[in-house]
């Protein structure tokens, strides 16, 4: 039996909540009950935190999608298997810096919207483990503690540029200034890319949710802001993975399109509730473009496929091209793009006239 102080117990419970080990009803009250931070943590608590991070993060990654037998690029060839079969486990190791501990101490000691004592960490100093924990923490807090100031959290340094949070929750980043763009560099190489592979089903599910939610969106301004945020993050993401030939990391977009653009897909799925009465034609067009930002992005994925067709066996990016062609065929990409174009076309101002 290891004993810890009240503060440390609260911290461990919140960490357990972020890692899906504690139910919200046991953890969320702790976000309201503030507890003064001690000068340092007991070694017992530090050991328990290390243990929770090591097991919890790995468990979540495996559960979210790491367990799936998938095919992804490894260097100049594609490899099939579970995440730990595609990459030796030693290379998948995550490092957590002192910033993780500082974040956990801060969130236990302060309110989320406490701007006077906002948590901040230099973006460059964050390790992949820190970033992953921040993603899991944000995911839980936005779902469970939006009222308690989780929205203030994303305005804080490390969350403003957290590419995985941007990619999974583009709707949360509609009010961000233009300078606060997502930084995809940590997620496109090495273990970061492996994490992105494991989270593909998560990302697909999130994008299906966001796109499905547009059907019930009535406010044109809200639609425009959502569309802009989606376009912003997708452009940054595709720009980051295209030059390094990691198109396979965009597989979740194909899965999203396949789920949304069935044979009965229609324009109302994106614009049914939009209240456009009294708007200028220019504003209506802008709103429709925002509503279809995801659909219009599929054209770029198709250009990748067309380019991949011309890549020969001896070319450098042969494996990447073959993998993308296989993904494209499996999702019936051409059919999806045709359906997406038909929907975008229906909303074209000159077609509606």
């Amino acid at each position: 039996m290891q004993s810890v102080s009240r503060f440390e117990a609260n911290l461990l419970r919140l960490l357990g909540y972020f890692l899906h080990r504690e139910p919200p009803e046991r953890a969320l009250p702790l976000l309201e009950e503030r507890c003064a931070a001690p000068p340092c943590l007991h070694s017992n608590a530090v050991r328990l935190i290390k243990n929770a991070l090591a097991k919890g993060c790995v468990f979540l990654l495996a559960q979210r999608g790491g367990w799936r037998r998938e095919r992804f690029l490894r260097g100049s060839r594609s490899v099939e298997g579970r995440l730990w079969e595609r990459t030796p486990p030693a290379e998948l190791g995550l490092t957590f810096s002192a910033h993780t501990l500082r974040f956990l101490i801060w969130i236990t000691a302060h309110r989320l919207d406490d701007t006077a004592h906002a948590w901040c960490a230099p973006e460059k100093e964050l390790t992949l483990g820190d970033r992953l924990l921040l993603y899991f923490a944000y995911e839980r807090l936005r779902n469970g503690a939006e009222r308690m100031g989780a929205s203030a959290l994303r305005m804080q340094g490390p969350f403003r540029h957290h590419a995985l949070c941007w990619l999974a929750f583009p709707g949360d980043y509609t009010a961000m200034p233009a300078s606060a763009g997502p930084n995809f560099a940590p997620w496109t190489h090495g273990a970061g890319a492996c994490l992105l592979e494991a989270l593909q089903p998560d990302l697909a599910r999130r994008w299906i949710e966001v796109e499905s939610g547009k059907e019930g969106l009535a406010d044109p301004q809200a639609m425009r802001m959502l569309g802009l945020a989606q376009e912003h993050v997708l452009t940054a993401f595709l720009d980051a993975i295209e030059p390094i030939g990691r198109m396979d990391l965009a597989r979740f977009l194909l899965q999203t399109a396949a789920a949304l653009l069935g044979p009965h897909a229609h324009v109302g799925m994106w614009t049914a509730q939009l209240n456009l009465a009294g708007l200028r034609v220019a504003d209506r067009v802008a709103t429709y473009q925002a509503a279809t930002s995801f659909l219009r992005m599929l054209d770029r994925l198709q250009t990748w496929e067309r380019r991949a067709r011309g890549v020969g066996y001896f070319d450098e990016d042969y494996a990447a091209s073959q993998l993308w062609k296989a993904d494209w065929e499996q999702a019936q990409g051409d059919r999806l793009v045709d359906r997406a174009r038909a929907i975008v076309q229906q909303l074209s101002p000159l077609r509606q006239a």
């Binding site: 009294g278 708007l279 200028r280 034609v281 220019a282 067009v285 074209s348 101002p349 000159l350 077609r351 509606q352 006239a353």
Partner: protein
């Protein structure tokens, strides 16, 4: 016994209100020939319909709507705008305890502020009314513009196909059915 004085403030302002609306769209021009040749064919077809050329951009104004086509990118901007000079008169009055004393001054200042708000609101209403007219006008014109641009794109495609066929060999026969919008070219290679 005190007397009440009526303070009345009247203001007349002239405003020029402006409203505009526009649509950007892309012409679906098939890439039958290299982009420069397709752009030239598009420019030619538009010129025959009265568009004025300014470099690679062609434009025409009809019924208060300006259609501008950038031939290199095949993008179209259809815009409508209107301006109106309007004179707004507003008047407000209230009671004051003195004729030209401190209370009358305060009342007059308050009335002036209220008048400013009244005028701003009226300008807003008139702008919204003009904007609605412009938008309605643009919507009405878009139907004609669409038909015309469809015809332009069709004629450009036909021209491009003829050029392409001529490059491939000797054209023996061209059959065109405008109603079915079909074109048959027999080429001897």
């Amino acid at each position: 016994m005190s007397r009440a004085y009526r303070v009345c403030v009247r203001e007349t302002q002239s405003h020029i209100i402006h409203a505009e609306d526009h649509v950007h769209t892309q012409l679906e021009v098939l890439a039958v020939l290299p982009p420069e040749q397709m752009a030239e064919l598009l420019a030619g077809a538009l010129e025959r319909r009265g568009f004025q050329r300014e470099g690679t951009r062609l434009s025409r104004k009809q019924n208060g709507v300006t259609i501008a086509v950038e031939t290199t990118t095949a993008t179209v901007k259809v815009a409508a705008e209107a301006s109106e000079e309007t004179t707004i008169q507003a008047e407000r009055s209230n009671l004051a305890y003195d004729d030209a004393g401190p209370h009358a001054k305060v009342v007059r200042e308050n009335l002036k502020k209220q008048l400013e708000k009244d005028i701003t609101r009226t300008v807003g209403e008139k702008t919204a009314h003009l904007q609605a007219k412009v938008t309605h006008h643009l919507e009405a014109e878009l139907n004609n513009v669409r038909q015309e641009l469809d015809q332009v794109v069709h004629s450009v495609t036909v021209e491009a196909l003829k050029c392409k066929a001529a490059q491939m060999g000797r054209i023996k026969e061209i059959t065109e059915d405008p109603q079915a919008r079909s074109l048959t070219i027999v080429v001897e290679v």
